[in-house]
């Protein structure tokens, strides 16, 4: 039975009356993989602005071995990058695992990313293997039979340079106009809405990180920074290693959402700027000159922040098996972080299986050192910075969540660093 979508869907409407672009019944599935982990709300905002009902935007679940076994078995491709390889499970789940079928499988090929470092680095492009991942995985579903067609699903994989705002409307219009019956103006409006939704979320997340740091400063307590790629937040890829440390009573920050507030950044990097090593707090040219890759750039920047920020006493580095992008960053990030005596622990070669036994022992080891050295690390790093710390410092001991609520109420509006 033909499913009335896309051209046929709209064709009917065309013949009757002026186009009423009612897309509310279209169901769009998005595999929750790779850089969707940092551009999530862009896609939600974009699709919602085009009239797709919120309940009809479906993200696949977190990666799991079961998902791969049930939905991706035998469709795998030759790729040693697990975050790419696991996509076949996500595709399969969206195609076969939905009670109410989807009409469109949207798996963008994201060529570049918005970044807090935009303008301070050479470029913010993505890993080529990650960008082309959708093409690679699609093949497993089209090699013999077109599984998408068989299931009445249109496969949409727009090539999009999210780091280059001016190009985005044109790119999405070109690749989606037939699938969604778009016109250029509404595409531009939807792209604007997408960026706004993403910025709203990112701002809130950065504010949350600032609240955590404020609590740490007030109570002279340590926190942990995770240096990883966005998709390591996927519980099936990062294996929730940081959550095991959190369960020992340490707040966890991720580099993707470090607060970029001018007051805080200027305080941390004042000395570097005074000596002319860097021009702005977001300048990483002192440690990373080939600053083309967005996630790599941010990892290097995160390492610099961690080395300076007194309450980040420990960095957890996560990296997937055979990651060619991460390879050249291992030594520099470790050296940067350890230069100020900040603890650095790497969990490398992550793959589909969680090595639970060794992770447990390593987490207990890390907790031992955190308890033993955090106090002196905080003191030492504070002694290198000026006394006018923008975060309020009192000795009142409160629970972080209560402290954060108070802090949020009391905080004056901060100048946020503009991303674009």
């Amino acid at each position: 039975m033909p499913i009335p979508i896309l051209q046929t869907w709209f064709a009917k409407k065309h013949s009757a009356a002026p186009p009423i672009k009612d897309r509310s019944q279209l169901r769009v599935g998005i595999p929750k993989v790779l850089n969707i982990w940092s551009t999530h709300q862009f896609w939600v905002g974009f699709l919602k602005a085009l009239g797709i009902s919120p309940e009809n935007i479906i993200f696949s679940s977190d990666t799991s071995e079961e998902q791969g076994r049930e939905f991706g078995k035998g469709r795998g491709t030759v790729d040693c990058c697990y975050p790419v390889k696991c996509m076949s499970g996500h595709y399969g789940e969206l195609i076969f695992g939905q009670k109410k079928k989807i009409n469109i499988l949207l798996s963008p090929m994201i060529h570049s990313l918005p970044s807090i470092l935009h303008g301070h680095v050479v470029d913010t492009v993505t890993c080529t293997r990650v960008m082309a991942g959708p093409e690679n995985i699609k093949a497993g579903f089209m090699k013999e039979n077109d599984v998408f067609v068989e299931n009445g699903i249109v496969y949409a994989s727009p090539f999009v340079s999210l780091g280059d705002r001016q190009l985005v409307s044109g790119q999405l219009y070109t690749s989606l106009k037939d699938i969604l019956n778009l016109d250029p103006d509404e595409t531009e409006r939807a792209v604007q809405a997408g960026y706004q939704a993403l910025e709203n979320f990112t701002t809130r997340a950065r504010q949350r990180s600032r609240e955590i740091l404020a609590w740490c400063a007030q109570n002279q307590k340590p926190c942990i920074l995770v240096l990883a790629r966005p998709y390591h937040m996927d519980t099936g890829i990062g294996h929730e290693i940081e959550a095991e440390l959190q369960a020992h009573g340490y707040p966890i920050l991720w580099l993707q959402y470090l607060p970029g507030d001018a007051d805080l950044m200027n305080w941390l990097f004042a000395e570097d700027m005074r000596k002319g090593r860097i021009k702005t707090p977001f300048d990483i040219s002192d440690v990373w000159t080939s600053s083309y890759s967005s996630n790599t750039n941010e990892i290097m920047w995160g390492a610099k922040v961690a080395a300076r920020c007194p309450w980040i006493t420990c960095v957890i580095r996560l990296s997937s098996y055979e990651c060619g992008m991460d390879q050249p960053t291992y030594t520099p990030t470790q050296k940067i972080v350890e230069a100020t005596g900040t603890l650095f622990f790497k969990f490398g070669d992550l793959d589909s299986t969680k090595p639970a036994g060794s992770i447990k022992i390593r987490v207990e080891t890390i907790v031992h050192y955190l308890a033993k050295y955090s106090g002196s690390i905080i003191g030492r790093k504070l002694s290198w910075l000026s006394a006018d710390c923008p975060l309020p410092r009192t000795s009142r001991e409160r629970t972080p969540t209560r402290a954060m609520a108070d802090e949020a109420r009391a905080a004056e509006p901060k100048q946020l660093v503009v991303l674009h």
Partner: protein, 766 residues
């Protein structure tokens, strides 16, 4: 399964779909008229097919070679010459299989890659087949044929590096379960409850099977689960985006002999076809499209004949068996010396200087550190009257060890107890000995490490539970403050701790693969009846040794048999094993290809490093990678964990800690009750371990009112006989209590990733 079982291959006649055109180019029939022989020299069996020049099969047979590949081929050739008139200089001979490379040139034969050979036979005999699985003793292969007619193409995938998914994988476990081959071949797959068995490694599968057996799972269910694991492994690793579509051919010994394996294939493939909506020809019964020809074993050999018939008639002309006979009787032994490496040492002088530096490891000073004097063991007079001490205990899986250190961190006393499976009794045995040594001396602090640290902390009144890595690093850094790496090779596990600025920054625990551990070395020594303490001397006696293959322990076993057959003696094989141990430890198990990254100073410890031959190969290996490296053996190789724990206890006491140690009397009087019943069975996974609960009376014990086996306040529970860490959690009720606690902590200490997971994919308005 006798060699008399001859099957006539009847080309084309047996194929049910003769309408499909045959894609294979028609063989250019050799006009010379000589016979053509195909011999498949596999990892467990040899097969031959003898055919006339026009391809008619005249004779065929297969026999197990028991690792004597060349001898079996010689026997075959003698038989073919005398019974079927195979004639040198006239007839031709083509070889395939893992052993073909050495043998073929000796008799003038040509080598054909085995998958190419199988594909040639299948194309000729079954043009409608689209997928072939050939499972061998130590490898697995799949061939996909795409398209039909002249555009037909094939894609070949093969795996031979690891035992997962091969015949050995099944047979090894079946041997352990004492199932005779005849019975194994009749065992079924359908209708049994399946259990999770590691499909990746034969040694782990064996361990899984053992656990299942202990838990009372029937042998039939275990074997059915093994068949499941093999099919899963083949489909998961050797399909690469292709769907095995009908018709399907299953080849190779395991596929032919194990009915259960055939059933497992049928089950999975038919389900896969339904899922992927593969249209089946006509109204054929799907299972009938998966066929196992009764001559499934001979396809590779038959393929050789097909290929031979397309080759010019000067290729592969049989030169007689003389050279092969010479090679078996003399050549291979000469080659043994050429191929094998020298012994574990270059010359006597080098060995002596090594022994002078490392020879007395243990309680002596010769631990490779040369200039550092090691603490001495307590004299008899001192024992029983030690001054104030810090006590460290290491509760391992097989033994419990304890040491007493003076406040100056000198080792005053050490003792151990073999684990009896009840940690309370183990602790009592240990503390009785400590009491004997300490007498009325003061205990400054008590720290425990090893698996027992969480179980026994409250019960003994330990001041510090110390994670293994910290215990080992503390002990290592005390003796060698500039160490960069600690390599601990124990009986069953390999641990590598990488140190940086005095902290353990990386930790490798081998858990995916059994290669490289001490138990394997011990197993081989036992097979040769060599006591462990004489093993190093034996290995040092060897003037030469075979080059064994790194990696999979399952294949290493057959490699050893192979080397033995070539005439290598026990001492030489042990030397060879010691020589590859570092590769297995660092590269295969530790995943550390670049030791330069790790550092310059290495501490070796753990029971396996009591073997001086292993120390020698480790030192040589590390120096070959980093010429300026310094390698030392921990002076208390086996007790390092307990010593490190005691040091942590002393540091804690120095900072003003007042010990909570219960005292020797209290530990001696600990009263407990043990419960083993249906209510103590673990339900976290289908293995259903029969655990025991040991309930200890402790004034401050919090009890477990919510438990199926309720425990009043004033009691503390210790769970034992679980086979994995999950079993330490009693049941869902306890999980809820634990989770609630974790959630409370997590709510108080936020994680930005939680926010992303919860809010970033939200569709409703934020």
């Amino acid at each position: 399964m006798s060699n008399k079982a001859l099957f006539q291959i009847q080309p084309l006649l047996i194929d049910p779909c003769p309408t499909q055109p045959c894609a294979a180019p028609e063989a250019t029939v050799n006009e010379a008229g000589g016979m053509v022989c195909g011999i498949d020299v596999g990892s467990t069996t040899c097969k031959y097919v003898l055919a006339s020049s026009d391809g008619e099969v005249l004779a065929q047979a297969y026999e197990r070679h028991n690792t004597k590949q060349a001898e079996k081929v010689l026997e075959f050739l003698a038989r073919l010459e005398s019974e079927y008139g195979l004639t040198p200089e006239r007839d031709r001979i083509f070889f395939t299989g893992s052993g073909a490379g050495i043998i073929a040139p000796l008799v003038g034969g040509k080598v054909i890659q085995e998958v190419v050979a199988v594909a040639a036979a299948v194309e000729k005999l079954h043009p409608s087949v689209h997928f072939v699985s050939e499972i061998g003793g130590e490898d697995m292969k799949t061939i996909f044929f795409h398209g039909n007619g002249p555009s037909k193409s094939k894609q070949v995938l093969m795996q031979s590096a690891c035992s997962g998914g091969t015949g050995t994988f099944i047979e090894k476990t079946a041997r352990k379960l004492e199932i005779p081959p005849e019975q194994l071949s009749r065992m079924k797959y359908s209708g049994y409850t399946l259990h999770k068995i590691s499909s990746k490694c034969g040694i782990f599968a064996e361990a899984d099977a053992n656990t299942l057996l202990k838990a009372g799972v029937s042998v039939e269910e275990i074997i059915a689960s093994l068949f499941e694991a093999v099919v899963y492994q083949n489909l998961a690793t050797l399909t690469r985006g292709n769907t095995p579509s009908p018709d399907i051919l299953l080849l190779g010994g395991p596929n032919l002999f194990f009915i259960g394996l055939q059933e497992a294939w049928r089950h999975h493939l038919v389900r896969l076809w339904q899922e992927r909506k593969i249209t089946l020809p006509g109204d054929a019964d799907p299972a009938s499209l998966i066929r196992v020809p009764e001559n499934a074993l001979y396809y590779a050999a038959q393929g050789c004949i097909e290929i031979a018939r397309r080759e010019p008639n000067l290729v592969g002309v049989y030169q007689g068996a003389g050279q092969l006979r010479w090679w078996i009787e003399e050549g291979q032994h000469e080659e043994k010396k050429k191929l094998g490496r020298g012994g574990l040492w270059k010359d006597r002088e080098e060995l002596e200087s090594f022994k002078a530096r490392y020879g007395g490891n243990g309680h002596g000073s010769k631990n490779g550190n040369g200039h550092r004097s090691s603490p001495t063991a307590p004299s008899v007079e001192e024992a029983g009257n030690l001054g104030p001490v810090g006590v460290g205990c290491d509760f391992g899986s097989t033994t419990a060890k304890a040491v007493c250190l003076s406040p100056q961190k000198d080792l005053l006393f050490s003792c151990y107890a073999l684990s009896k499976g009840n940690p309370i009794e183990d602790a009592k045995a240990l503390f009785r000995q400590i009491r004997g040594a300490v007498g009325n001396g003061e205990i400054l602090g008590l720290a425990i490490t090893g698996y027992g640290k969480d179980l026994l902390k409250n019960i003994l009144g330990a001041d510090c539970p110390v994670v293994e890595t910290i215990a080992h690093a503390t002990a290592g850094l005390h003796f060698f403050p500039d160490a960069d790496c600690i390599c601990d090779v124990g009986g069953v596990d390999v641990k590598i701790m990488i140190l940086n600025n005095g902290a353990v920054t990386d930790f490798r625990l081998n858990s995916q693969c059994s290669s490289g551990n001490g138990a394997f070395l011990q197993g081989v020594a036992e097979r040769f009846n060599i006591p462990m303490n004489e093993m190093a001397d034996g290995a040092f006696r060897a003037q030469a040794m075979p080059q064994l293959s790194m990696g999979c322990g399952v294949f290493l076993q057959s490699d050893i048999v192979n080397q033995q057959r070539k005439g290598w003696q026990a001492d030489e094989i042990l030397a060879g094993l010691c020589a590859i141990l570092p590769l297995n430890v660092w590269i295969y198990a530790g995943g550390l290809n670049n030791l330069q990254q790790v550092g310059k100073k290495y501490i070796l410890q753990g029971g396996t490093h009591r073997n001086l031959a292993v120390v020698k190969t480790q030192v040589d290996f590390i120096l070959s990678k980093i010429p300026e490296a310094e390698v030392v053996v921990h002076p208390y190789s086996g007790e390092a964990g307990a010593i490190g724990a005691a040091m942590v206890a002393l540091e804690w006491a120095e900072k003003g800690g007042r010990t909570a140690f219960r005292g020797f009397d209290a530990i001696e009087k600990l009263s407990y009750k043990t419960a083993t019943s249906i209510d103590t069975v673990c339900h976290w996974c289908p293995v259903n371990c029969q655990r025991s609960f040991i309930d200890v009376e402790l004034a401050e014990g919090s009890g477990r009112e919510w438990s199926k086996v309720p425990l009043a306040k004033g009691w503390e529970r210790v769970i034992v006989n679980n086979s994995c860490p999950k079993g330490l959690v009693e049941d869902l009720n306890e999980m809820k209590v634990i989770k609630a606690g974790i959630e409370k902590t997590k709510n108080a200490y936020p994680n930005i990733a939680d926010m992303v997971r919860k809010e970033a994919f939200r569709r409703a308005a934020n």
